[in-house]
């Protein structure tokens, strides 16, 4: 297909136009307005870096970034350990393997909003009931403190996302040649050694994928946050995405919210580009 051919442009025009109007135009537009006093409809004054300077003083925004980073770190570790554990479990050729996969993956089909509401009930009512039945005080009053709000978010995310990451690990585990494992067994390697010395190196690429998937998922999380804690108590469990939303659509501080959105883009882009860099490097190493 030649550049000048009508058909080439005909084929890419619909997606190109929609992408431009939905992503690039708003992105550029928003970038410029983040330097102004834009109220969503019009801007009257160029403010330079004033919005960005204000961000540095904004405790709620800074604490939402810290909360998001803490959440991301806890999630990445737990999701990957449990996801890999589940993957190893369901690749053991059990009779129930395919049912187990189906069950562990299921939460990922349901929207974060609904999952958040279900877990609100679990943490508030079911935890309380289990706690009083077993006499464990730590199980009551969940989501009412920032501590339990944090762990509530992590538990929900691990429960949902471990099954997703499991799927990725399975794809790599199943590509480990059977002969290799049999040969290792013949040589007297026990199951731990077979995992550590044979499977593990071959599954390593899945770590990079899973790590960054978990990371970018944690950064963009909004629905679960809204449904489970709505940022409470006292905005202590508010994540970056929610902080931006609230600035814009609750406080109607559009230009300021957009400055946050630009910073947010930079954070997410740095994460994603690091991944691209590592993937490239890995391909070279192989």
């Amino acid at each position: 297909m030649k550049n000048r051919s009508v058909s080439f442009w005909l084929f890419i025009t619909p997606t190109l136009i929609s992408l431009a109007l939905v992503v690039f135009v708003p992105f550029i537009y928003g970038f410029f307005y983040s330097f102004s006093d834009w109220n969503g409809l019009k801007a009257t004054e160029f403010l330079g870096l004033a919005n960005y300077a204000e961000l540095l003083q904004d405790e709620a925004f800074i604490s939402s970034i810290w909360f998001t980073i803490k959440f991301a770190v806890a999630s990445i570790i737990l999701v990957n350990i449990i996801g890999l554990g589940l993957a190893l479990l369901v690749t053991q050729k059990l009779k129930s393997s395919s049912i187990l996969r189906t069950v562990f993956f299921m939460p990922n089909l349901i929207g974060g909003l609904i999952l958040g509401f279900i877990w609100q009930f679990i943490f508030i009512s079911a935890f309380d009931a289990v706690g009083s039945a077993l006499g464990i005080e730590a199980l009551s009053g969940w989501l009412s403190t920032s501590e339990t709000g944090f762990w509530g978010m992590v538990i929900l995310n691990v429960w949902q996302y471990a099954g997703y990451i499991m799927i990725i690990y399975i794809a790599y585990l199943e590509s480990v040649p059977e002969e290799l494992l049999e040969a290792a067994e013949m040589d007297g390697a026990n199951s731990f050694k077979r995992f550590w010395n044979v499977k593990f190196p071959l599954v390593a690429p899945a770590f990079t994928i899973s790590l960054f998937l978990t990371l970018s998922n944690a950064f963009k999380l909004y629905d679960q946050n809204l449904a489970l804690t709505n940022g409470g108590p006292f905005r202590s469990t508010e994540m970056v995405a929610m902080n931006i939303y609230n600035s814009a659509f609750k406080e109607y501080d559009m230009a300021y919210a957009q400055a946050k959105a630009v910073i947010f883009f930079i954070l997410v882009a740095v994460v994603a580009l690091t991944q691209v860099y590592y993937n490239k490097k890995r391909e070279v190493d192989l």
Partner: protein, 272 residues
């Protein structure tokens, strides 16, 4: 050998226990949706002492379930269809044209995946509001814009296994690009189309934030009505849980019939 069998048994038991643990939130949701308010208060963990279906009746009405379901279905199906048609066309054109412009355009599509939704959300709503496009039509157009990058990326990848000689042979037979694509190439892209369909439908069906900013009450989808419904009945768990159960039923039914394709689609989307 005996030890191996025993190990397998232990692993099987652990797996079953974990699966039950994973399902426990759903179990608690379902059993409590059949209880009265008092029933939940006195007994959260067990099955209902007396079963009631009233919760479902009221949740069904208050969620405006039929309407919301039809809105969700319409928006998801139309959006996904458009994404498949237009992204496959673009993926094909970009893969077959090896020029610099084509490569650059492909990079532009891929680069758009770096931009998170929240970074464009505010100006997007402002711009579309100005031209009066905050309606289902505008929403579908937005889904095409947000969904096409990954879809084009997947189609572009799948094209590498379809030899260009097929196109050439068809050209000699007198077919034009349009005919070649729809008659020969598009049917061969079916496996990746299934993947694209699954990934996009899971996302769009469950999406809350974008439609909450775009749609008005009469066009509300299931997640939007769920949000209002839940806000209305906080602390009335028997109703809230019945609503949540209702909202999940369609998904579970589809999952039951298409689990293999769904899991394969998600794997392909993540690993490629």
């Amino acid at each position: 050998m005996k030890q191996k069998k025993r190990n397998k048994l232990i692993i099987g038991v652990i797996g079953t226990l974990l699966a039950l643990l994973w399902l426990s939130p759903f179990y608690l949701m379902v059993v409590n949706s059949f209880k009265t308010k008092k029933g939940i208060f006195s007994n959260v963990l067990g099955i209902p002492e007396e079963w009631t279906f009233v919760n479902f009746k009221q949740a069904f009405i208050d969620l405006d379930f039929v309407n919301a379901f039809m809105n969700s279905l319409l928006i998801s199906v139309v959006s996904v269809t458009i994404i498949i048609l237009f992204s496959s066309m673009a993926g094909y054109a970009l893969a077959r044209n090896k020029s610099k412009i084509s490569n650059a355009l492909f990079m532009v599509f891929v680069a758009a995946m770096l931009i998170p939704f929240q970074s464009v959300m505010i100006p997007l709503i402002s711009l579309f509001g100005k031209v009066d496009m905050l309606n289902p039509g505008g929403l579908i157009f937005m889904y095409l814009g947000f969904g096409c990058s990954l879809s084009i990326f997947l189609y572009h990848g799948a094209m590498s296994s379809i030899p260009a000689s097929l196109d050439e042979a068809a050209t000699i037979d007198g077919a034009n690009r349009w005919q070649i694509f729809w008659k020969i190439i598009f049917p061969m892209l079916k496996p990746i189309s299934v993947t694209v369909m699954i990934l996009n439908i899971i996302w769009i069906w469950n999406d809350y934030l974008l439609p909450s900013l775009v749609l008005s009450a009469e066009n509300a989808t299931i997640p939007l009505n769920m949000f209002f419904f839940f806000g209305q009945y906080t602390k009335q768990w028997h109703l809230a849980l019945a609503g949540l159960t209702l909202a999940i039923i369609p998904i579970i039914i589809v999952y039951f019939f298409a689990q293999k394709q769904i899991i394969k689609g998600v794997t392909d989307g993540a690993v490629k």
